[in-house]
Amino acid sequence: MLWKLLPVGLSYVLLQVTLRFKDDGDLAKRLQDRDPRAMTDLYERYGRLAYSLIYRVVRNTGAAEDLVQETFLRVWNRVQSFDRAKGALGPWVLTVARNRAIDYLRSVDGKMSAGALELDRLETPPLFSNFEDTALSLDRARVLKTAFEKLTPTQKQVIELAYFEGLSQTEMAERMKQPLGTVKTWVRSALKALRDDIAGEATA
């Protein structure tokens, strides 16, 4: 089962990595100023995370390396429009990384054209600003991990298919040979369960 792969490595990720650093604004400014050391810092902060995510999607080390390079090049080229006062670099880098990997998968499957522009639109830097202070906290990540582990196997599977294989609900239904309505129910219920646990943690 795909979902069984997800918990592997969580301990490293959750204990070592946060998606928003206090000095993200300073790092973004240095990237915008083309400080060579800034790119080293950005890679050291998010390179392993981006590689792990991309590898999870494409399952090929050579392609993963190409896509990580493409991810960081894209961030470098687009960082001028990043809001360094209110932005969070981690979600942006991860979104770019995932989109590059999904785009690669779709191109391998011969269905690249339609989604490529849409993915491009969904990773514009201004989208990744004005997060709530606690939105990206490690506590929240732990809650989300626990919430994910509590999902049913089919819920976990649809979440995996959405995040790591880039399948729409229609494509999931075809892949799983289930009615679209059923798949939509699984997806919605899974996402709601994740959201509810996070909301519960926020009000606890």
Partner: protein, 245 residues
């Protein structure tokens, strides 16, 4: 038209680009109205998505990937191996320099020690020579006077102190040769009385110890192999006959 909050369940999929075109268009239209509630909900969905993406199984990228990524934006950092090599080279240079300095200092120190010993030795010999000259019992004997290429000088003999030789105009010692002094008893065979070198043709040599001055016939000097000889090699470089006290 859907209620605003109906969209909130779809924001994660919307942000992942996984909604069907009609669903996506409806949300796009609504977001363009500037709905603050939906903006906030979308941010929450983006945060959830980012965290979910960060939960991918951890895989360590190869070290070359960092260099490759940095090179793609024109940054060429020195690798740790290069830095380590440079650090090692620097340390080696420093170590060599310190070693040379240490050896140089040690050499200078040894030279100073040798000079000190030599000066001390010369001082002792001069003091010893003075004790010959100060003592009325010393018998002075001149040699070399009137000879064409004369080593010349004086021999001082003393029954308790021994023999003091002060010579000048000595011919340069040949390679592998050294001067040797002899005391020659009256009617007896020459006895070795020590080896010495000349400096610029002059020499001061002392044979310490009691001496039977009354039975002493002559003091002589020859040039011998560096190890010295048990019998003098002719010709005599210096011969100073001693008349007795």
């Amino acid at each position: 038209m859907s209620a605003c909050t109906d969209f909130h369940d779809d924001f994660e999929l919307y942000a992942l680009g996984l909604l069907e075109p009609a669903e996506k268009a409806e949300i796009d239209d609504h977001l363009r109205t500037g709905c603050a509630t939906c903006e906030a909900a979308l941010k929450d969905a983006l945060a959830v998505n980012a965290i979910m993406m960060s939960l991918a199984p951890d895989v360590v990228p190869p070290a070359r990937l960092k260099r490759r990524v940095l090179a793609s934006v024109g940054v060429h950092p020195m690798s740790w191996s290069w830095l380590a090599a440079m650090a090692a080279a620097c340390m080696l240079v420093v170590a060599l320099w310190l070693s040379v300095q240490e050896r140089s200092r040690a050499s200078e120190l040894a030279q100073a020690r040798r000079t000190l010993i030599e000066v001390g030795s010369q001082r002792d010999r001069l003091m010893q020579a003075l004790s010959f000259l100060d003592d009325p019992a010393t018998v002075p004997v001149s040699f070399g006077k009137g000879q064409p290429i004369p080593p010349h000088g004086n021999v001082f003999v003393h029954s308790k102190l021994g023999v003091l030789l002060i010579a000048a105009n000595l011919p340069p010692a040949q390679a592998g040769k050294i001067y040797e002094m002899w005391v020659i008893p009256k009617g007896g065979a020459p006895r070795p009385a020590g080896l010495f070198q000349s400096q610029g043709g002059t020499a001061l040599h002392i044979l310490s110890g009691p001496l039977d001055v009354g039975n002493l016939g002559a003091v002589a000097v020859t040039m011998e192999p560096e190890a010295g000889s048990s019998t003098p090699t002719m010709p005599l470089v210096i011969v100073a006959p001693v008349a007795g006290p």
